[in-house]
C-alpha cells in the first residue's frame, strides 16, 4: 500500500523542529510499524538524506524503548501493544499517518522522534527498590508466604515497561501511573512494606521535581498503557502517600 507519513523532524535538543511529509510506497500489511520506518529510512539513506531517528530495541513489546505518538495516540490506535507490535495491516492504502515524539517537558526531544526519558530513571533512583543486600545469604524464598492475589497484583504493577505512554497520553503529561506502578509493586509485598513510607515520599517528590503535570484522573494512561497497568495503582499510591505524610 501507499501511505503519506507526516513525521516530526528535529535536528537536536536545541533546534526547532517541524512536521515533514514523506510519501512511502510498497508497504506490506505484515510489516510492523517500525519495519515500515526501516523501509522509509533505507530510502532516505539512498537519497542521501538523514534517516529518521527513533528509539527501539527488542521489537517484541517488552523493553519499553519504542515510543511514538501515532495519529494522536501513543503506540498507535491498537490497545495493549507497543509501537513495535503494531502491524501495518491496521492501516489502509492511501492513509496519512502523523508520527510525533512522546511530548512532555520532562521528556525533552533528543532528535526527531527520540526523547530523553531519564526523568523516569531518576524517579526510580529515588526509591524504586527494596534495601536488601544482593550478595550473601538471606531467608529462604518460601519463608514468607504471600497471598496469591497480592503476588499477582504486585506482578501486574511490575509489568510496567517504563515506555512513557502514560505520560504521552495524559493531557497533563502526568507520570502518576508509572510512579504508582513501582510504588504498588513493592507496597503489595511484605518485603516492600518495611520502607514503604520513605519510598512513596521520595518517589513522589522526585516525580514532582521532574516537571510532570498533575493527575486529573482522566484515565487516558490506563487505556493507552501497553501493559494494561491499572488506575488502582494510582489510588493505592495516593493512599500510601497520605498515610506516609501523616506519619511524617
Amino acid at each position: 500500500m501507499k501511505l503519506t507519513l507526516k513525521i516530526w523532524r528535529q535536528k537536536d535538543a536545541n533546534s526547532k523542529g517541524s512536521m515533514q511529509t514523506y510519501p512511502i510506497d510498497g508497504v506490506d500489511g505484515d510489516m510492523s510499524f517500525l519495519e515500515m520506518l526501516d523501509v522509509l529510512n533505507d530510502g532516505l539513506i539512498n537519497q542521501g538524506e538523514d534517516p529518521v531517528v527513533f528509539d527501539h530495541d527488542c521489537r517484541e513489546g517488552i523493553c519499553g524503548a519504542c515510543s511514538l505518538m501515532i495519529n494522536g495516540e501513543p503506540h498507535g490506535p491498537d490497545r495493549l501493544i507497543t509501537t513495535c507490535q503494531l502491524h501495518m495491516r491496521r492501516f489502509n492504502d492511501g492513509d496519512t499517518i502523523v508520527i510525533e515524539p512522546f511530548r512532555a517537558k520532562a521528556f525533552p526531544v533528543i532528535k526527531d522522534l527520540m526523547v530523553d526519558r531519564s526523568s523516569f530513571e531518576r524517579i526510580q533512583h529515588a526509591g524504586g527498590y527494596i534495601s536488601v543486600n544482593t550478595s550473601g545469604n538471606t531467608i529462604d524464598a518460601n519463608a514468607i508466604p504471600i497471598e496469591k492475589e497480592d503476588a499477582d497484583a504486585s506482578f501486574n504493577a511490575a509489568a510496567c515497561i517504563g515506555c512513557g505512554a502514560c505520560v504521552a497520553a495524559c493531557k497533563n503529561a502526568s507520570a502518576m501511573l508509572f510512579t504508582s506502578a513501582k510504588v504498588s509493586q513493592f507496597a503489595l509485598l511484605p518485603q516492600g512494606k518495611v520502607e514503604a513510607t520513605r519510598r512513596v515520599l521520595n518517589m513522589v517528590e522526585q516525580m514532582d521535581k521532574e516537571g510532570f503535570g498533575n493527575c486529573t484522573n482522566t484515565g487516558a494512561c490506563e487505556v493507552e498503557c501497553p501493559k494494561g497497568i491499572s488506575l488502582e495503582n494510582i489510588a493505592r499510591m495516593n493512599r500510601e502517600y497520605l498515610s506516609a505524610s501523616l506519619k511524617g
Binding site: V204, G219, I234, M237
Partner: protein, 219 residues
C-alpha cells in the same frame, strides 16, 4: 504537604466532595420550593438567620469554593507547563471522556454562573440583611425565588450552566474518590451512584428553574 502533586490533588478532591455535599443540601432546600413553599420559607429563614450557618458554615463554604477554583487554576497552569510543545494531533477522545479532559471549561462556566448566582441571590441577601435594615419577614423567600426565574434569559443561562455542572460532576465526583485513594471492588457501584447524582441533582435544579418560570406568581 500542599506542595506535592498528590496533596494538591487530594485537597482538590476533598474540597470538591464538600461542594458536592453542599450542592445536595442546597437542592434539598430548593426542591421544597416546588413541593411545599411553607417549608421552603422556614428552612430558608433558618439558613439565612442562624448564627452557626451564617457565621461559620457560610465562610467555610465560601472558602471551599474559592479554594477549589484557585487550586483548579493553579493545577491547570501547571499542567499546561508540563507539555510546552503541543501535539500536532492528539486524540484524547479515544482514551478519555470529554468531561474529564475539560474540567477547566466546565469549571469556568460554573464559576461564571456562580458570579451570576451571587449577584442574583447572595449579594441581595447580604444587602437586604446586613446593609439595609428591613424588618424580618420569614415568608419573603419563596416569592423572591420564584420571581428570579421570570426572565427567560436568566433561565436559559441557568439551564446551560447546570448542563455543564452535569459534566463537571460526571467526572469530578467519582474522580474525587480515586484521588483520596478509594479504588476497590465497591468503586464500580460508587461510580454509578456518582453518575446518577451528577445527572439527577442538576436536572433537579433545572426542573425547579423551569417550574418556577412557567408557574410565575404575581409580584
Amino acid at each position: 504537604m500542599i506542595s506535592s502533586s498528590i496533596a494538591r490533588k487530594v485537597a482538590m478532591a476533598l474540597s470538591g466532595l464538600f461542594l458536592v455535599f453542599f450542592l445536595a443540601q442546597h437542592f434539598t432546600i430548593n426542591i421544597t420550593s416546588v413541593i411545599a413553599p411553607d417549608i421552603f420559607n422556614s428552612w430558608s429563614h433558618f439558613m439565612g438567620t442562624n448564627g452557626l450557618v451564617q457565621g461559620i458554615l457560610q465562610p467555610i463554604l465560601i472558602f471551599g469554593v474559592i479554594y477549589h477554583f484557585v487550586m483548579g487554576f493553579i493545577l491547570e497552569i501547571q499542567n499546561r507547563k508540563a507539555r510546552t510543545v503541543r501535539y500536532a494531533q492528539f486524540k484524547g477522545g479515544t482514551n478519555s471522556s470529554w468531561a474529564s479532559r475539560n474540567m477547566i471549561i466546565t469549571g469556568l462556566v460554573i464559576l461564571a454562573f456562580l458570579g451570576l448566582h451571587f449577584y442574583d441571590f447572595w449579594i441581595p441577601e447580604i444587602v437586604h440583611k446586613y446593609i439595609e435594615t428591613h424588618p424580618e419577614d420569614p415568608t419573603r423567600y419563596y416569592a423572591e425565588t420564584v420571581h428570579k426565574f421570570e426572565s427567560p434569559v436568566r433561565v436559559t443561562i441557568y439551564v446551560v450552566s447546570f448542563i455543564l455542572l452535569i459534566l463537571h460532576l460526571w467526572h469530578g465526583f467519582s474522580s474525587a474518590f480515586q484521588s483520596v485513594g478509594f479504588n476497590n471492588k465497591y468503586s464500580k457501584g460508587l461510580k454509578l451512584f456518582t453518575q446518577i447524582f451528577a445527572v439527577a441533582i442538576p436536572v433537579g435544579f433545572i426542573f425547579i428553574a423551569l417550574y418556577h418560570h412557567f408557574n410565575q406568581i404575581p409580584h
